[in-house]
């Protein structure tokens, strides 16, 4: 026990000395760190010596050659065990009806007042005694619990501010404790199904009850208590009106206005129970404990940080600033790394940093050489290979895009095709014939009547005269009609050109150019025209020239001409003959009967057959076959014929005479 006291005394001494000069903490203090480690060990061992609180497995805190992390791990082990123990005891005590949660205003006020007045060392001394009491009383458990809870709360308070300066001020700690008390008090109510982070059914009911009571009180109390604090309707207060510890506006935080968002029920119960206990005790003790807490804070600060940090992050209310998530990360990172708190920057500073970085990067980009996409005309050599493939290029399409063929389009097309087939409305292209209208043809159209005119001259002139006189009357048509007709014609022609697929433009109207085929002089002469051969139209234009040249009579033809003609004639005949034979052959093939009738060969064959059979006899023309070329030949032939006739006749006579003579002779005998 004496050892314990001594140990604690030394610890307090060291801690007090360190606390007296907080400015030294701006830089790393290796010596102090070692001292603190030693203190941690002594306190741990002391705690372990006391067997009331069941702790972790380690009997003593090993610090030699151990990293901070490892020390913390050891402490954590201890704390986990201790926490369970505390929870159980608190639960037990909460059910204990002897305990009262209510605290007096005056007590709080006195606490506030006394806290500021008391000196550190007095507090320490009292704390010492209390520490002793703590370990001996039955309710030490709860004290120990309080220790932990307050430390937590204070830490929460601390790290909810994002100020770089952390208050080791005891006064602040006390105030924090007060607020923690108040907040925890409100959380004694039960949970319901509707509750969530911000709303509690029990709280609402309490508020309503309070309101009802107020109404009742108003009826009773006519006097207004001027020294009372006016409680806003938002706060759900129970009957114990508590004066909020007066904080300067600079120190106001979210916690002053809103309840911390609770999602961990255990902590709340713990905190609530702790608050109850505190109220029972005297204010001083609370303060002393707080003071002690502040000492142990230094040791356990680190150990609790890990616990708190995670809860901090979840319970913090975050604003939707663009850089906040980053700042959170940054702060967390900083916390993890154990960076010196002085280097932590405010959110504004961080945002400013980022802005400046952005600006810098933009400026650099502007000053740099631009990428090829932003340079005007870029040829293939100036840009990297295949870089256009990665670019989405916009360009105007000069032509209509080809239609996308989908199933629907094909169906539509097929429908059209089917309908067309049914209607038999084909799109056959009508073969076009180029109208061969040459000047010559055109001229011919002025009709040349080669026949004797049926009308007499008088009638012709009569008709002419009538025409002349009638034309004058008919010409006076409505000029507007003419104009309209002309306009419509031109319009329709243009429309046809536009819409007709197979549009063939009208052939150009051959301009009628009157070519007077007489030399100018002859036109103007009054005297009868002198005949001249000069003509403006070439003779070939009027009529095609004969290949043979001039038309010649037989007398005029030369030998070559005659031979040429003969050759031509023979050729023509040959062709005709061949065609005839072809036709004959074809006929024979197709209709053999008809074929045989017409051919010469067939006829000759027939004749031969007939003569053989004896049905027909051929007449022989002996003398008449020969061609009589001269008159001499003719007359000689004639003579011969006559002679023959005479001979035949005389022969006949002689024969007859001979026959008669024989008979007479026969008779005479």
């Amino acid at each position: 026990a004496i050892q314990a006291i001594q140990g604690i005394q030394t610890c307090l001494r060291v801690a007090g000395a360190a606390a007296a000069r907080p400015e030294c903490f701006l830089s790393v203090q290796d010596g102090l760190a070692a001292d603190f480690r030693a203190m941690t060990k002594t306190l741990y061992d002391l705690n372990k010596g006391n067997n009331i609180v069941r702790g972790g497995p380690l009997k003593e805190l090993v610090i030699e050659n151990f990293d901070e992390e490892q020390i913390w791990q050891q402490l954590e082990l201890q704390n986990n065990a201790v926490l369970d123990f505390f929870k159980k005891s608190i639960a037990r005590d909460a059910e204990d009806e002897d305990l009262c949660l209510l605290s007096d205003q005056e007590d709080d006020g006195s606490d506030a007042e006394t806290s500021s007045g008391k000196e550190l060392e007095d507090n320490i001394m009292e704390a010492e005694t209390e520490q002793m009491n703590v370990y001996t009383k039955d309710k030490d458990k709860t004290k120990a619990k309080e220790k932990q809870s307050k430390l937590r709360e204070s830490l929460m308070q601390k790290y909810s501010d994002e100020d770089s300066d952390i208050d080791f001020d005891i006064e602040a700690l006390e105030q924090q404790a007060k607020t923690a008390k108040e907040t925890t008090l409100r959380k004694k109510e039960r949970k319901s199904v509707v509750d969530d982070k911000f709303f509690k059914l029990a709280e609402m009911e309490a508020f309503l009850e309070h309101a009802e009571k107020e109404d009742k009180e108003e009826e009773d109390d006519d006097d207004i208590n001027y020294f009372e604090d006016i409680i806003s309707d938002d706060e759900e207060d129970s009957e114990e009106d508590q004066v909020k510890p007066i904080k300067s506006s600079r120190d106001m935080t979210y916690k002053d206005f809103f309840d911390p968002v609770d999602d961990d029920d255990g902590d709340d119960d713990l905190a609530a129970n702790d608050a109850e206990e505190d109220q029972e005790e005297e204010a001083d003790s609370a303060i002393e404990e707080q003071n002690e807490e502040s000492m142990s804070e230094f040791e356990d600060m680190d150990e609790m940080m890990e616990h708190m940090k995670s809860k901090e992050a979840s319970k913090k209310v975050t604003f939707s600033l663009p850089d906040d998530s980053e700042t959170e990360d940054v702060t967390e990172v900083q916390l993890e790394k154990g960076i010196n708190p002085s280097e932590i920057k405010s959110s504004f500073e961080q945002r400013q940093e980022k802005m400046s970085k952005k600006i810098k990067s933009l400026e650099e980009a502007l000053l740099e050489e631009k990428p090829w996409q932003l340079k005007g005309e870029v040829t293939g050599q100036k840009r990297p290979e295949n870089s256009l493939l990665e670019e989405t290029v916009f360009f105007d399409h000069a032509v209509r895009m080809a239609p996308v063929i989908t199933e629907e389009t094909t169906f539509q097309l097929e429908d059209i095709i089917k309908q067309r087939i049914l209607d038999e409305a084909w799109d056959d292209v009508v073969p076009k014939e180029k109208p061969k209208e040459e000047a010559f043809e055109y001229k011919k159209r002025i009709s040349l009547d080669h026949e004797k005119s049926k009308l007499s001259l008088a009638e012709i002139y009569e008709q002419e005269y009538m025409k002349l006189h009638q034309q004058k009357t008919e010409e006076e048509e409505n000029p507007e009609h003419k104009e309209i007709q002309e306009m419509m014609d031109s319009l329709f022609q243009k429309l046809d050109a536009l819409c007709n697929f197979h549009f063939t433009p009208k052939p150009p109207v051959p301009e009628i150019k009157i070519v007077s085929n007489l030399p100018a002089i002859s036109m103007e002469e009054v005297a009868p025209v002198a005949v001249s051969d000069a003509a403006l139209l070439a003779p070939e234009e009027i009529k095609e020239k004969n290949k043979a040249g001039d038309v010649k009579t037989d007398a005029e033809k030369t030998a070559t001409d005659k031979k040429r003609e003969l050759r031509r004639k023979k050729l023509r005949k040959r062709m005709r003959r061949r065609e005839k034979e072809k036709r004959q052959k074809l006929l024979e093939k197709m209709k053999p009967e008809q074929g045989t009738k017409l051919s010469k060969k067939a006829a000759a064959a027939k004749l031969k057959r007939l003569t053989k059979e004896g049905k027909a006899s051929l007449l022989k023309d002996e003398g008449k076959d020969k061609a009589l070329k001269s008159s001499q030949a003719f007359f000689s032939q004639l003579q011969d014929q006559v002679r023959m006739q005479i001979k035949d006749a005389s022969k006949l006579k002689k024969k007859q005479k001979k026959e008669k003579a024989i008979s007479v002779h026969k008779l005479k005998l």
Partner: protein, 190 residues
């Protein structure tokens, strides 16, 4: 033919001799000839059988002095070979004339060449002659070597040109082209 006006009494007299080949046609068409002369022109006409002349005489009823000329031209045209109806146009229209010329006037041709020229003018079945007649609105009489054209002045000229070209040897197709061109121009002018 010289038509010397003889003053017989108070009126004038014209005599038109009739060749033997035209005697019969005259006899056949006598009615058609003398009717318009007597009725429209109010002249007196007779055919002197002895002298073989057609004689036309003015009388009191004659209103127009030029009627005699017209009648004489009319009869003369018929005698030359024109149809009565064609010759009748002479009476009806003032500006019709009668042109006569010979083939040898255009070009001295003899024998076969002359015949060929005449043949060219006539054409096959008179085709060419009719064509020229139709295009130029004239009447042509082709009597061996003599050519008579009846029509208005312009048309006579056209026909004459065409015939002359034919005489000189141009083929008929060429002549057709020429006369057609000229005729169309002439027609457009009016």
């Amino acid at each position: 033919l010289c038509l010397v006006p003889q003053q017989v009494g108070k009126g004038e007299l014209r005599k038109i001799p009739v060749p033997a080949n035209r005697y019969t046609p005259l006899k056949e068409n006598w009615m058609k000839i003398f009717t318009p002369i007597v009725e429209h022109l109010q002249l007196q006409i007779r055919f002197n059988l002895k002298t073989r002349n057609v004689e036309i005489k003015t009388c009191k009823e004659t209103k127009d002095l030029s009627a005699l000329t017209k009648a004489a031209d009319f009869v003369k045209a018929f005698i030359l070979g024109f149809q009565v109806e064609d010759a009748l146009a002479l009476i009806r229209l003032d500006d019709l004339f009668l042109e006569s010329f010979e083939v040898t006037d255009v070009k001295p041709l003899k024998g076969d060449h002359l015949s060929r020229a005449i043949g060219r003018i006539a054409g096959k079945g008179g085709k060419t002659k009719f064509t020229i007649e139709n295009v130029t609105r004239t009447r042509i009489v082709l009597a061996d070597a003599k050519i008579h054209i009846l029509g208005s002045f312009q048309n006579i000229k056209m026909a004459q040109t065409a015939i002359c070209n034919l005489i000189l040897g141009s083929p008929p197709s060429k002549v057709y082209g020429n006369i057609r061109a000229v005729a169309s121009r002439a027609a457009e002018r009016f």
